[in-house]
């Protein structure tokens, strides 16, 4: 064996790759192919299915009929990705730079919710967000919210759920990237007068936060002026106290690969997620994953369900390609521009 390997050195990399490739072939390529074939079926479970290329109409039907759910999935997953970024970045930054000897404990805490099942974590949100639950109950008792106000069965609950469930997928890559930043670079930048931005930073932060709130408001038709004002206030405070020129010019660019990886790890699974929409939403918040689930398991319409899945894969591929082009693909493989 040893001599064989020595004589044919070229085998080694393939031998090392073999288990992974075999795994992917059996559990990804084959089922994906099977599904692709199924997307050109017509017929029914009872009478059997037949394959024909003329059944490409499965795709037109899928896209035609379910455009709203596709769009909703993209919006929800996008909103959740932005939110996870806004929450995860300060978190990762704090752990990396201020964590000290508690770094490992803090990182463990980020992952700790994963010790509970995905389903249980989501269902427990129903208890938290319940109409008279621990969050809304006291506020309603004080009379600050109308009696019929609810969070459950709304887009807010679904996006919050996705954000919560995917937070570690954003936090960990960002942490790894931020942790690698050489703090001496930041110190050098500060020496060169890249200090806190006052008052300009505050205004910039307020504008960004206000704009984000406005977009969310338009998407969900909320009374967004109030929301925008609130977000502007928070954004302003963050910009005023925390964002400095050295952060914008040094730390953030160096951590971009982590942000890129984190946003893909969040966005891609989130867009196909159906658990949050199922448990925290209602019929008006169903995502494309719910449609596929219903088509597959309730209607037994395997052809259209397969076509829907493939369309989703194609859509994700396009979105990710565009995103990668904008952020620069080399960010994925290099540790950053210096």
């Amino acid at each position: 064996m040893g001599t064989l390997l020595k004589r044919h050195r070229w085998i080694a990399p393939y031998a090392l790759l073999a288990p992974g490739i075999l795994w992917l072939l059996v559990f990804y390529v084959y089922p994906a192919f099977q599904m692709f074939v199924a997307s050109f079926w017509s017929g029914s479970l009872e009478k059997g299915f037949t394959f024909s290329l003329a059944n490409y109409t499965n795709y037109t039907e899928a896209i035609d009929q379910f455009a709203p759910q596709y769009l909703r999935s993209i919006v929800y997953a996008g909103a959740a990705t932005v939110l996870t970024f806004l929450i995860a970045y300060p978190l990762a930054y704090t752990i990396a730079f201020k964590g000290g000897r508690y770094k490992n404990v803090l990182l463990f805490l980020v992952v700790a919710p994963f010790f509970t099942s995905f389903l249980l974590r989501t269902i427990s949100w129903k208890i938290i967000l319940g109409d008279t639950g621990i969050l809304l109950g006291p506020i309603k008792e004080l009379g600050l919210l109308p009696e019929d106000f609810r969070l459950l069965a709304t887009p807010i609950a679904v996006i919050s759920g996705i954000t919560y469930n995917f937070l570690p997928f954003m936090t960990l890559p960002v942490y790894v990237a931020v942790e690698k930043v050489d703090f001496r670079l930041v110190e050098a930048a500060r020496d060169l007068y890249a200090g806190p931005w006052r008052p300009g930073g505050g205004i910039a932060g307020a504008l960004v936060a206000g704009g984000l709130a406005a977009v969310l408001g338009i998407v969900f038709a909320w009374p967004w002026p109030i929301l925008a004002a609130g977000a502007a206030l928070i954004g302003g405070a963050v910009g005023w106290f925390l964002v400095s020129e050295s952060f914008i010019r040094v730390t953030f660019p160096l951590s971009l690969p982590g942000v890129f990886a984190g946003s893909l790890l969040t966005f891609i699974p989130a867009i196909g997620d159906y658990v949050n929409a199922e448990f925290l939403g209602n019929p008006d918040t169903r995502m494309i994953g719910n449609v596929i689930q219903n088509k597959f398991l309730t209607q037994n319409d395997y052809p259209v369900a397969s076509a829907l899945s493939f369309t989703l894969m194609a859509a994700i591929l396009v979105l990710v390609t565009v995103y990668a082009r904008i952020l620069g693909t080399e960010e994925l493989t290099t540790t950053g521009r210096v």
Binding site: G130, D131, R150, P283, T285
Partner: protein, 414 residues
């Protein structure tokens, strides 16, 4: 002996909850369908592991059409989980089945293998298609699947001479279904009602299904429908004065229009599988389309809740025992089905299961066993309520696809 409600098995999990949780099992049907090429994969769980060699072991015992003068050594029964009595001390023992064995000397191979109708159908379909024994002598399936099997001609006809208790004790409400008018192919095992679950402290007394379609501030935004197509469409049809025992495509359109209108008016909070019971208890919902079996348990947890069958009617769903075509022990299977139509035996099962018993006289027998259960109108509904219940009619495969597609709109996925 029985401290009511808690010893009745594992009360937190009802048969319908399992049904909802088991949807992933439906995937098995897809995998089976992937092998469309004709290489019908032999029903894996059913005929191999669970009922091994049922057909080959004793081919001579095939009683087929003749009366079972001599019961076979074993009989194989596929049923749902938590659907028969268990011994309080030994969860693996079923006292009523032991009594059957004591009487006939037949060992009952009772397997809780049915998780949902569709995927179980997937496991027996190849054998039935090929005209072979499925390995099961009795299968217990819900109305719509039962009618499908009958329609396909995959069910043995009962020899009613073997089934005197069944012919005498089956309740009238179950008789005369379009898909089996003479009851020669199916024998109801357990039923459940679909009606209105509500919190009268918030909504006041409710008697009409119209509440589900009225934007009253007391329950607007706190009303839930069921994700089960036949229940929600059925109740909508009853509200509209249509007949769910004979559903047409035009009915589906009207029902869906009414449901969509109610959604638009903000009455409906969501459509739920079983979790409506949790929502009723938590106060997130105050009115819900509800299953009687779940409500038995919910009422224990929150006694202010109520279950009612609307004045327009309610739905009745039933899981039915049937003998699949080519079953090896047909005669014994008939004896087994009939055995559970003795009121005392039926009452014993009912003391464990929270559903509705199709057997006349079981309520009387229950009085001796547990008077509390005998009084429970959700388990032994009075005749005037039973008379208002309707069974959703059979649908052809094309019509079923149409109904499901229309209902997907109500679910928000169509």
């Amino acid at each position: 002996m029985s401290d009511n409600g808690t010893t009745r098995g594992l009360p937190a999990i009802s048969r319908r909850q399992l049904l909802a949780g088991g949807t992933m099992a439906g995937f098995a049907a897809f995998l089976a369908a992937c092998g469309t090429g004709g290489t019908a994969t032999q029903a894996p769980s059913a005929s191999e592991s669970a009922a091994p060699a049922a057909a080959s072991a004793e081919p001579s015992a095939t009683a087929s059409a003749e009366a079972a003068a001599t019961p076979s050594a074993e009989v194989n029964w596929a049923n749902w989980t938590y659907y028969i009595d268990v011994d309080a001390k030994d969860q693996t023992k079923h006292p009523t089945l032991d009594k059957f064995t004591a009487k006939y000397g037949t060992k009952v191979n009772y397997q809780e293998v049915i998780e949902d109708n569709q995927s179980f159908f997937g496991t027996i379909k190849p054998a039935l298609e090929a005209g072979q024994d499925t390995g099961w002598d009795v299968v217990t399936l819900t109305d719509w699947m039962a009618s499908k099997l009958v329609r396909l001609g995959w069910v043995e006809e009962f020899n009613l001479a073997n089934m005197p208790n069944f012919t005498a004790n089956i309740k009238d409400v179950y008789k005369g279904l379009a898909w089996d008018p003479e009851m020669k192919h199916h024998a109801p095992w357990q039923s459940g009602m679909t009606g209105m679950g509500y919190d009268p402290t918030v909504t006041g007394e409710l008697t009409s299904l119209s509440a589900f379609f009225t934007p009253d501030p007391r329950w607007k935004g706190k009303t839930e429908y069921l994700t089960e197509m036949r229940d929600t469409i059925g109740l909508a049809m009853l509200y509209l004065g249509l007949d769910p025992t004979n559903p047409t495509r035009a009915d589906a359109d009207k029902a869906v229009a009414a449901l969509q209108k109610a959604k638009k008016e903000g009455i409906v909070r969501d459509l739920k599988g079983n979790s409506y019971a949790e929502d009723l208890k938590a106060g997130d919902a105050v009115l819900a389309m509800a299953w009687s079996g779940d409500m038995v348990q919910a009422l224990v947890d929150k006694p202010t809740l109520k279950f009612a069958v609307g004045s327009e009617g309610g739905m009745l769903w039933t899981d039915n025992s049937m003998i699949p075509k080519g079953a090896a022990h047909k005669g014994t299977a008939e004896l087994l089905i009939d055995f559970f139509y003795q009121p005392e035996i039926a009452a014993e099962v009912e003391a464990y299961v929270n559903y509705i018993c199709p057997v006349k006289g079981a309520d009387e027998a229950m009085k001796a066993l547990d008077p509390e259960i005998a009084k429970n109108p959700l388990i032994f509904p009075p005749d005037d309520i039973l008379a208002r219940l309707r069974v959703f009619g059979p649908l052809s495969e094309e019509d079923e696809a149409y109904f499901n597609e229309q209902f997907a709109k109500v679910l928000g996925v169509g």
